[in-house]
């Protein structure tokens, strides 16, 4: 198994993270924001795996399993919320979903 340079992997993780962040900040559709968050989570997971293989520790992979479980839970709750929002407001635009502001 070829040894991958840790810096490159971390670079890819950082690019992934920034892509996700940009998506969260710029997307108006709430569904795409959710997907962007998933990308950010995967970036974090990649960084953990890379660090674990660098230091020859299993902790990085255990952490990735945690992130995976958490991402699954988050997606299920998030999708349920998105469906509710669609049912109630007939829109997916976050700019229109600002009812919680201070009057």
């Amino acid at each position: 198994m070829a040894v991958v340079n840790i810096d490159r992997v971390l670079f890819v993780a950082a690019v992934l993270f920034l892509l996700g962040l940009t998506g969260v900040l710029t997307r108006k559709n709430i569904l795409f924001m959710l997907i962007s968050i998933e990308i950010m989570l995967n970036a974090a997971g990649l960084a953990f795996v890379a660090a674990g293989s660098k230091w020859h520790q299993p902790d990085g992979q255990a952490m990735f399993l945690f992130i995976l479980a958490m991402a699954a839970a988050e997606v299920s709750v998030g999708l349920a919320l998105v469906m509710q929002i669609w049912h109630q407001h007939k829109t997916m635009d976050v700019e229109d979903l600002n009812k919680l502001k201070d009057e």
Partner: protein
């Protein structure tokens, strides 16, 4: 002596019943409860007097044995306990307390009987008797207390009742102002007394009266600054309560209350609380010659100032009020020269004749459609004969008519001591003598203007029996109460001073001049009466007074005296106005600005932060990002 506790407890019970259920009781039931409780207390006090005389005080009075000071003690339980201080509800009755208790309950009972008729028809009948009963209870606690804290409780209690009763007819703002004035001015004295108590406790670590009297001669050096300060503070307390210069201005206005209140509180009992306090604490005063001198001078000045004001008043009750101030001035003078017994004797006779005068004045005012101005009265001699004759007895006693009136015996004693006691002097004596002339003059003026001459207002009603009987009893006592104590050179009868001897020492005197002094006092009285008679009865047609009134100087002096020597205006300029202007300056609440600023900062912060809660999800995400970047920057 367990029945001792019932004497103050009965009026207290009457107060509780009337205060809690008075509105649902009929007038008759209220009268029976209100007057009955005080009458029962008076009977108990008389039984107590009998026992007291039986237990050897009489032997002492006859001068047989040096009396072991006879007294009754009763502990009713602990009041409070703090550190070294332990205060109990303890009563202690000795001959001094007994004299006061007798006056409070006996004169009080007569005044309550009078009030049952006088106040009939008033819509607050029950409230009146509730306050009166509470007053009697508080006053009894004041004179029966065995420690100064309990005495102070009674002291404040009578002040409260005085306030409540001066403002009894609270519909009129003037009455409420008078009540406030009385309360606030006496408060000055009360505060001084309280500070005195603290100082005394700091020095002696006890507030038990007997212990204080026992320990202070050993603890304090004669004339040391601290004892002088304590004595002066006590004197200031007495000045406030007893309406002495310079705190006397409240008493004339206190006449806004009903006449029985003036008789009981502002003539017979409460205003003499200062006299009681000084007599009770006489050991402290004797340790401070300066305080004694100040007391005597205060008394002498007060009696002159008030007597001069009484000369020109036109309101019948205000004349009597100024005369009360002046007579209490005599008592303070006697206290100041060390003649404590004489002061208490004058209190004793004064209570009878001044209560009588107020009650009679009340009857006159009632009969004349609430007319207070004496110059619109007149000619009542034939229409209200009982009131006239009793008023005559009271006025004679006030003027100290020689031999036949009680006032003569007590006032003559004070005059003599003011002259010949070790602390006395010619100046004090001359002031007292001048006061006697003026007193006789204004008593005569009052009597002649009100009862003689032509009728100016028609009589609407005649006083009933419940009003006249107390008047007659008081008139009898005003004439005869003085016979218990005769001047040294006339008859060797000294029942009163013998009775008090165990508590109050007799002053050291310089001998001689008794007869001359008496003759001068008699001449002073007769001169005053003569001048009054000349001016107000014999020669109104010549019109000396009318001519005087036209002269600007005389009119100015008259107005000055009429206004009570301008004390009210002085205090108004010195204290009231500055205070009012300061409050006006502070109308915007300068000191509140600090708190207003706190509020304003919180509001602004709130507005800024709540603007950030704009409901936009992306803004929040940016916020989170900025936060993370900030923390990362800090960490790196």
């Amino acid at each position: 002596m367990n029945e001792l506790a019932y004497i103050p407890a009965l009026p207290l019970l009457g107060f509780l019943v009337l205060a809690l259920g008075g509105r649902r009781m009929s007038q008759k039931a209220v009268a029976i409860t209100g007057a009955g409780s005080v009458c029962a207390a008076a009977l108990l006090t008389m039984v107590l007097c009998g026992q007291f005389f039986g237990s050897g005080a009489v032997g002492a009075a006859a001068g047989h044995a040096s009396p072991a000071s006879v007294h009754y003690d009763l502990q009713l339980g602990q009041w409070f306990h703090a550190g070294a201080l332990s205060i109990s509800f303890g009563l202690r009755v000795d001959s001094l307390s007994l004299v006061f208790m007798f006056i409070i309950t006996f004169v009080g009972a007569l005044i309550h009987l009078y009030s049952t008729a006088f106040m009939r028809g008033d819509r607050d009948y029950a409230r009146f008797f509730a306050c009166m009963n509470l007053f009697v209870c508080a006053m009894l606690i004041l004179v029966m207390a065995d420690n100064l804290v309990l005495l102070y409780l009674g002291w404040e209690g009578v002040g409260l009742c005085s306030y409540l009763l001066i403002g009894f007819w609270y519909d009129s703002p003037a009455n409420c102002l008078a009540a406030n004035k009385a309360f606030i001015i006496t408060r000055i004295g009360d505060t001084a007394l309280l500070i005195g108590l603290f100082l005394l406790f700091k020095e002696l670590a006890t507030l038990d009266i007997a212990a204080i009297l026992r320990q202070s001669p050993g603890h304090f050096r004669l004339g040391s600054p601290v004892i002088t300060l304590i004595a002066l503070l006590f004197l200031a307390g007495g000045m406030g309560k007893s309406a002495q210069l310079p705190l006397q201005t409240w008493l004339p206005d206190a006449m806004a209350g009903p006449s029985p209140v003036s008789a009981l509180i502002h003539a017979a009992t409460m205003v003499t609380a200062g006299v009681y306090l000084i007599a009770r604490m006489h050991v402290l005063f004797q340790l401070s010659p300066l305080a004694m001198t100040v007391t005597a001078i205060t008394g002498a000045l007060t009696l002159l100032v008030a007597a001069c004001s009484a000369m020109v008043q036109t309101d019948i009750k205000r004349i009597l009020a100024y005369s009360t101030i002046s007579q209490i001035g005599y008592m303070f003078l006697a206290l100041g020269v060390g003649a404590y017994g004489a002061a208490i004797f004058h209190f004793f006779t004064h209570a009878f004749f001044k209560a009588l005068l107020f009650l009679a004045a009340g009857a006159v005012i009632e009969s004349l459609h609430h007319e207070h101005n004496i110059f619109r009265m007149g000619g009542l001699k034939d229409k209200l004969p009982v009131v006239y004759w009793t008023f005559l007895a009271g006025a004679a006693s006030l003027a100290a008519l020689p031999l036949v009136s009680a006032g003569f015996y007590s006032k003559e004693q004070i005059l003599w001591y003011a002259w010949r006691a070790a602390n006395g002097g010619t100046a004090l004596w001359l002031a007292a003598l001048a006061g006697a002339v003026i007193t006789a003059f204004y008593s005569t003026r009052l009597l002649l203007v009100v009862f003689w001459g032509e009728a100016k207002t028609s009589v609407s009603s005649r006083p009933g029996r419940l009003i006249t009987i107390p008047l007659i009893i008081l008139a009898f006592l005003s004439l005869t109460a003085g016979f218990v104590e005769w001047p040294h050179n006339l008859l060797p009868v000294h029942l009163f001073s013998g009775f008090l001897q165990s508590v109050l020492p007799a002053p050291a005197t310089r001998s001689g001049g008794e007869t001359i002094g008496q003759l001068l006092a008699v001449m002073a009285t007769l001169a005053g009466i003569g001048v009054g008679y000349q001016l107000y009865h014999r020669q109104p047609e010549i019109g000396i007074i009318t001519r005087w009134q036209q002269r600007p100087l005389a009119a100015a002096i008259r107005n000055f005296l009429f206004g009570g020597w301008g004390f009210d205006r002085l205090y108004d300029t010195l204290f009231v106005r500055p205070l009012v202007s300061i409050t006006r300056l502070n109308r915007a609440d300068i000191f509140d600005q600090l708190y207003v600023a706190v509020v304003r900062a919180a509001r602004t912060g709130h507005r800024l932060l709540s603007a950030s809660q704009n409901g936009s999800l992306r803004w929040y995400a940016v916020g989170v990002l900025m936060g993370i970047l900030f923390i990362l920057t800090l960490l790196l």
